[in-house]
Subunit: 434 residues, 2 copies
Amino acid sequence: MSNAIRRLNARDPEFLSTLDALLAFESAADERIDAAVSEILRAVRATGDAAVIEYTRRFDHLDVSSMAGLELPHAELKAALDGLTVERREALRVAADRVRQYHERQKIDSWSYMEADGSVLGQQVTALDRVGLYVPGGRASYPSSVLMNAIPAKVAGVHELIMVVPTPRGEKSPLVLAAAAIAGVDRVFTIGGAQAVAALAYGTQTIPQVDKIVGPGNAYVAEAKRRVFGTVGIDMVAGPSEVLVISDGSGDPDWVAMDLFAQAEHDELAQSILLCTDAGFLDAVAAAIERLLPTMPRREIIAKSLAGRGALIQVDDLEQACAIANRIAPEHLELSLETPEPWVAKIRHAGAIFVGHHSVEALGDYCAGPNHVLPTMRSARFSSPLGVYDFQKRSSIVHISAAGAQTLGKVASILAHGEGLQAHARSAEMRLKD
Amino acid sequence: MSNAIRRLNARDPEFLSTLDALLAFESAADERIDAAVSEILRAVRATGDAAVIEYTRRFDHLDVSSMAGLELPHAELKAALDGLTVERREALRVAADRVRQYHERQKIDSWSYMEADGSVLGQQVTALDRVGLYVPGGRASYPSSVLMNAIPAKVAGVHELIMVVPTPRGEKSPLVLAAAAIAGVDRVFTIGGAQAVAALAYGTQTIPQVDKIVGPGNAYVAEAKRRVFGTVGIDMVAGPSEVLVISDGSGDPDWVAMDLFAQAEHDELAQSILLCTDAGFLDAVAAAIERLLPTMPRREIIAKSLAGRGALIQVDDLEQACAIANRIAPEHLELSLETPEPWVAKIRHAGAIFVGHHSVEALGDYCAGPNHVLPTMRSARFSSPLGVYDFQKRSSIVHISAAGAQTLGKVASILAHGEGLQAHARSAEMRLKD
């Protein structure tokens, strides 16, 4: 089991096609999920609270007579926070503070400028009014995820942040509720699944319609988010988590092995890949994997993930490693190098870049400051970490002076006639004085 | 026909439900389009160039033996530009220059900061490598759209911008080709429809895979973009165009009528709404509509749009007008007011805000500077105009010092154990010195 992680060499003529096959991941379309989600969305849209209550009874075995029974009072979040050990409460607080400090720097500001003729052009930046945060229940219930999704929204100035979290048979996660208290979540409903997404997207008698829905979820939640996109904004639909480590053979092979484990322990589809210029170090990491794996509580998941989607890859040099990294566009990239700084700028596509031996991904997952919601499945080629900017939007400001309307009106008129849009042309021409 | 635009009063108890019904727009799902697009994507993915050539033969009646016959040489773009009248060429140049100047201000820069323990956190901003620009052929072939999509990409620093434009039976739009030359498009293929989207998203033997596809298109193109989203980034899927004019009764009713026409002439589903505090001015605009409509070449489209989706609405005051505007979240908003400045900040949701009587939307469509690709169908609640930021992305930088790993490692360890992720905890603990 332990030595099943594949060894590849970038010099192999088949290497790139092998790599592409290893990276390929498509979530299979599931018609039963599609149909179930479609029906749930329709029902919640049609009858609102009644449908949400009924689905919550059916799927989460919560028997309530009204939506009021599905809303958690603030006092309960506060009590969850107060009930934590001091150590955990302080750890959550430190993490929240650091995440907030980092995200404060992401705020976009309005700007404008005046032209010589007195016209003013600019961009007015505003926060979203209301955001829905989906938090999975049960095993995948992560307080860090609450912090990472809620804090950027609050830093952006979102007026109301509504969290939904399923509590099957009434089971609640105190850490999740405590994180909601720390992050400043405004309202919490104990609902989940496609019915929670529908309630947020369309609004019900009790739950106000939101402008955007963020947060991870299972296949039903992902499909529901995909379907309500347009009615509301959504964050990305995330794939399995990924780490790519680039090593020059410096550092401790045990550290690298454990970093690969930390990714692999998420689930069997998670992907851990090591690129290394030093064959001996690759052997040492392989040996460390074999030695350390049996000591891990989640060893079965780790072993399946490493065997199914992991790889230890020998590369010729760090230039080649960076080229491969840019092809992979990994969610997490660790530059496990003696002198990592010069290589940072060579990475064009990665969700987060962890620089040097002490910058382990786990710090970024919890408390370094940057967001842990990152683009997966090569989407770092075109998208960014979740951030404050995802909860702000821009309106263009166009304030043309009477003088400006003379010069611009003539240009617009010519181009509008060229496009056969005469009313466009005349609305500009009417502002001309001559 | 001419007086068919509806008159509403915001005091009417039924007003909000009438307004919501007027705003409601859902593009009907069409199973034939879905099936056709699905098959085209599959075929292009499987056989690449051969499928693209075959579909182009079938749909656009272009008979070529290889993809080389479907690529336009740069000389042809340059010749199209040289062949324009001086007036049109200069108008395109002025528009392009102004759009470029405005968009230069949207560039996002990398940043970082060092903490007391020597750790560095930041954000590295990079441009997308390669972008595909879809340009519709035939009647909806707008050179302004080429400028508005291409210029932000080039300002962002996109390395390669590939335009696709169908040329049914070989018919090309000289204005579109000229705009491509001015905007600095790198390659142009005369292909369109779902096959063009597929070629850009998956890559073929000749057409390189892009990272994002932008630009408007018909229902087949929109469905294809929706389906390839994830493999590549896409811009928004746009709905019918909209304008909302807020008037205090100052200004010229003919100007307002023509501004409503300019929106309505796009297509029958376009939406033109006027909110006004002055009943007499509403009457005057209604009279202007009746008088001016017969003079418009596109009067039939305008009349259908105004009758089907337009409205002249009396409001009590400008506060109420702004509240209604925020509910509508229009693509274009004109503040047709004597003293417009104080009202700009009250608009929280709009794609673009045109301030004062001379700031007519047509100027923004062509040459004011800001982008004319704007959020429609209430999506200004959560999204922004197309901009340079759509062609840039961020990577988080996490460079933790050995000292920083001590304090952060303890926090991460506590939280990772709380989430049951022991490998996360140990990868952090391994960096602890004690």
